[in-house]
């Protein structure tokens, strides 16, 4: 079973690489949807496992919520936000794509270098999974830095959250149900607020490039 999760974690990591390599905003949302689907798959397998072995249904419910929220609802919300503000193909990233991907490779290596030394992880079966999922967190944060448009920041934040979720899931075989639910609701609220903010920014500055925001500085 561990091998299956290893594979899934590698696939999730790969989807974040795909995200960094994406050029268009529409495809950010698509990639995020795919990544969330894989996470839901991992959670589903883990949920079935925990039902058969311990009789707990929690993880399966979490899987269901992921499907509803991250695979269906939030991408739809983002698509709507995006089509509401502007549609223009232009260079959205700070450095060019190959360099960004290379930096992300470096991040994975760095994460491996830092995480592998923690006691209790290097001996455990979930060594690779933890490293991959923490790398997803770092790549999500890096993605936020590398994109200019506000949608990029939202997606980066969501990927970062995905990374934290799978880190917790792989490390503990499912966190307490109430914590997971709390995090999902927080995330949903954050995305809604950020969606509204994108409208506001677009309204004020006629663009959603967030580097215009430095005019707000006092």
């Amino acid at each position: 079973m561990s091998g299956l999760f290893d594979t899934l974690s590698v696939i999730i990591l790969l989807t974040s690489f795909v995200l960094v390599a994406n050029k268009r905003i529409k495809s950010y949302i698509k990639t995020f949807r795919i990544q969330s689907a894989f996470i839901a798959l991992a959670a589903g397998i883990m949920g079935i496992q925990s039902i058969t072995s311990e009789g707990r249904i929690d993880v399966l419910v979490v899987c269901f919520v992921i499907v509803v929220l991250k695979v269906i609802y939030i991408p739809k919300l983002l698509n709507r936000t995006y089509s509401g503000v502007e549609y223009k193909v232009e260079k959205d990233f700070i450095l060019n794509i190959p360099i960004l991907v290379l930096i992300c490779c470096g991040l994975v290596v760095f994460t491996h270098f830092c995480i592998a030394s923690i006691d209790g992880i290097s001996q455990g079966y979930n060594d690779l999974q933890i490293i991959n999922s923490v790398s997803v967190v770092m790549i999500g944060l890096f993605f936020m830095i590398s994109r200019k448009k506000a949608i990029g920041q939202i997606i980066g934040f969501l990927v970062l959250e995905n990374g934290i979720f799978i880190t917790a899931m792989f490390a503990t075989d499912g966190m307490p149900f109430i914590v997971d639910m709390g995090i999902f609701i927080d995330m949903l609220t954050a995305v809604m607020i950020m969606g509204i903010m994108v409208y506001q920014i677009s309204d004020k500055f006629d663009t959603i490039n967030i580097d215009k925001l430095n005019k707000l500085k006092g």
Binding site: F110, M138, L141, K148, Q153, I210, L213, K217
Partner: protein
């Protein structure tokens, strides 16, 4: 029914204050009702608190636990306990709160319809509440929280009239200074914790080594000294106190700066225990400088409230001298003098609370009636505001240490404790003590001059402008609030042993030595006298003697002078008709001799400028005098400009306003933390 215990009274009072604060917010729309309700609640709960603290001071000594709220956060327990020291300060706080709240019922009426009365009263009550917590907290974390809450709430009150730029500037200066001071306190608490593994204020400090104690002493003197307004860290005080509304200034100057005195006694004398003579010597030194320079600057001010604020610096100096003498005596093992000096300094803190609170209320009345705080624009107020004038005169006499009032008692005791400790064989401390006596004398004389100026220029003479001549007496409630304080000043001055009996419990508990019995004489009237090593004085007798002498003098004039004819007529004007108010002695003129004598301190400069016309016949001549503040110019301004340049640069380099930059900061921090985890 079980009798109410002391802790129940205090719990009820805290609860009432909380209700009052919420009521003030809830009734925010209806100004008059809100003001009446919240001040009424303040008076009631202040009375409860007063009863409780007097019961504690008269009753058994020892710690009384008032309340305990635990939380899951480490170290954070809201634990309230009182001993006699806390009870004394609580009593003073409650008396002042009752009087100021009575006064506020009238005073706040000029905010009706113009400002948010509900918000003001909410801040006012929570400010009082935070001071109660400062005095009752029994662990350092809670003390720190209460202390910080007190600073922040008073900051909001200082900038309450925020449309004026100078108030905002005063508030900023205040909050910066008080935060730096709090940082020193925090470092001190952490050092204490690192040795004792406990934040308990009533615990033992045996585990702290000597060097650490010295460092903690310096930190606490800096931290508490700033809040007390001791020179040279007084800089915020003369700006913040005048900026606040007058009832808040009365609380700030009356009791808030005393929280620092409480802190010094609580942490240094009680918790750490005095070990070195130089601790006392340092406090005496700071006290001397504050007393003399404070009053010298006060004499130069033309703004009533600024003058009073500087006078607070002076009085803090006197309190610190007393405390320093106590520390020195305790370090050398002389507990009697230690206790006596501690009583003297806490008594002066109590007295200063009453008369300075009253004076700030008086300044508020003057401002309420005339709309100005500038002494140069006032004049002749005694005719239109006789009661206010009489009360301000009482407070002025008290602060100038004139006999039947309370200021005299504490200053006299301070002198006595110093004299009692000057003895042959210790030249170092003796010189310091003699200097302290000289400084006290000088400060006393200058303070008297200062209040002659305040009272004489603003209340006597002729009105200096048309508006001032038509002012009306302030509402009765305002005078009632001040009247209680004035009566207390007179009462404590005439029967000092009443209050000394209460304070003696503090010294008895902290030092373990009661000096009350040595302060009593054996005469019939002088049951309320004070007797110490051969020097005895009975203020009550003096008062009676004064009365009898006055009567005798009047009688003598009546008997020997024969009948005289009284004629009421204008002052003789040397044949120069039309004496007007511009010919009066001005406040600037009054303080000029002192300014010339102390020119090294004030650096006076004057400029005469002829405007218009020819050189020999100008249309107008302008004469400007200015004095500069050496602390601001040579200490604070250079430091400020350095910090400002640095922040400007940092703002352009670091705080760019770009979200990407901020994200990169977070990213780099996380990477560094991960790397740190790998290597360490």
């Amino acid at each position: 029914m079980g009798a109410l215990q002391i802790e129940n009274y205090i719990q009820m009072s805290v609860l009432l204050f909380t209700i009052g604060a919420l009521a003030a917010l809830a009734l925010g729309k209806r100004d008059r009702l809100c003001n009446l309700v919240s001040n009424g609640i303040c008076i009631a709960s202040g009375l409860l608190l007063m009863v409780a603290s007097v019961m504690k001071l008269l009753g058994a000594s020892g710690l009384i636990q008032i309340g305990l709220l635990r939380s899951t956060l480490p170290f954070l327990a809201l634990e309230m306990k009182i001993d006699n020291l806390s009870a004394l300060f609580l009593m003073v706080l409650s008396v002042l709160v009752v009087c100021v709240s009575i006064y506020s019922i009238g005073y706040i009426s000029h905010y009706y319809g113009k400002r948010k009365v509900g918000l003001f009263n909410f801040l006012y009550i929570t400010f009082i509440l935070s001071m109660i917590f400062v005095f009752t907290s029994s662990n350092a974390v809670f003390f720190y929280i209460a202390w910080e809450a007190m600073s922040l709430l008073s900051y909001f009150l200082v900038i309450f009239e925020s449309e004026r730029m100078e108030n905002q500037r005063a508030g900023t200066l205040y909050i910066v200074m008080t935060h730096i001071a709090t940082a020193f306190l925090l470092i001190g608490f952490m050092i204490i914790y690192s040795y004792t593994k406990s934040f308990d204020l009533f615990g033992s400090s045996d585990a702290i080594p000597d060097t650490a104690k010295n460092i903690i002493f310096i930190l606490f003197v800096l931290g508490f000294g700033t809040k007390a307004g001791a020179i040279p860290v007084h800089i915020w005080l003369p700006y913040a106190h005048p900026a606040a509304p007058s009832n808040v200034s009365a609380l700030m100057s009356g009791i808030m700066i005393k929280t620092a005195i409480y802190g010094l006694i609580r942490f240094l004398l009680d918790f750490l225990g005095v070990q070195h003579v130089w601790w006392g010597a340092l406090l005496i030194g700071v006290g001397i400088v504050s007393a003399v320079l404070g009053v010298a600057y006060a004499l130069m001010e033309q703004d009533i409230k600024k003058l009073l604020a500087y006078s607070s610096v002076e009085n803090i100096g006197i309190i610190l001298i007393g405390l320093g003498v106590s520390f020195t005596a305790l370090a050398q093992g002389n507990e009697t003098v230690g206790a006596l000096a501690l009583i003297a300094s806490t008594l002066h803190a109590v007295n200063h609370t009453f008369f300075k609170g009253g004076l700030f209320l008086g300044a508020g009345s003057v401002h309420y009636a005339t709309g100005t705080k500038d002494i140069e624009k006032l004049g002749g107020l005694i005719k239109s505001m006789p009661i206010t004038a009489l009360l301000v005169l009482c407070f002025s006499l008290a602060i100038s240490a004139i006999v039947p009032f309370n200021g005299f008692i504490s200053e006299w005791l301070t002198y006595q404790s110093i004299f009692a400790y000057i003895s042959p064989g210790q030249p170092g401390t003796n010189i310091l003590f003699i200097l302290a006596v000289a400084a006290l004398g000088l400060a006393g004389a200058l303070a008297a001059a200062c209040f002659v100026k305040l009272f004489g220029i603003s209340f006597l003479g002729l009105p200096r402008s048309e508006e001032i001549s038509h002012v009306e007496e302030v509402p009765v409630v305002m005078n009632a609030g001040m009247g209680i304080l004035a009566a207390l000043c007179l009462l404590l001055g005439t029967f000092p042993l009443v209050i000394i009996r209460l304070i003696d419990g503090v010294a008895g508990e902290l030092i373990g030595r009661s000096v009350f019995d040595q302060l009593q004489g054996g005469f019939v009237i002088t049951w309320y006298s004070m007797d110490l090593t051969g020097t005895a004085i009975s203020p009550f007798e003096i008062l009676i003697a004064l009365g009898v002498l006055t009567l005798l003098a009047l009688l003598a004039i009546r008997v020997y002078g024969g009948k005289y004819i009284e004629r009421k007529y204008g002052t003789w004007d040397c044949g120069f008709e039309g004496i007007n108010s511009r010919m009066q002695y001005t406040a600037t003129g009054f303080s000029k001799p002192v300014k010339i004598v102390f020119r090294i301190l004030f650096r006076p400069s004057r400029k005469t400028e002829a405007i218009g016309g020819t050189d020999y016949y100008p249309d107008r001549i302008e004469y400007k005098v200015a004095s500069e503040s050496i602390f601001e110019k040579y200490v604070y301004l250079p430091a400020y400009s350095r910090v400002r340049t640095f922040s400007r640069k940092a703002k352009f380099l670091v705080q760019t306003g770009s979200i990407h930059n901020y994200l990169i900061y977070i990213f780099i921090t996380i990477l560094v933390l991960m790397a740190y985890n790998r290597f360490v």
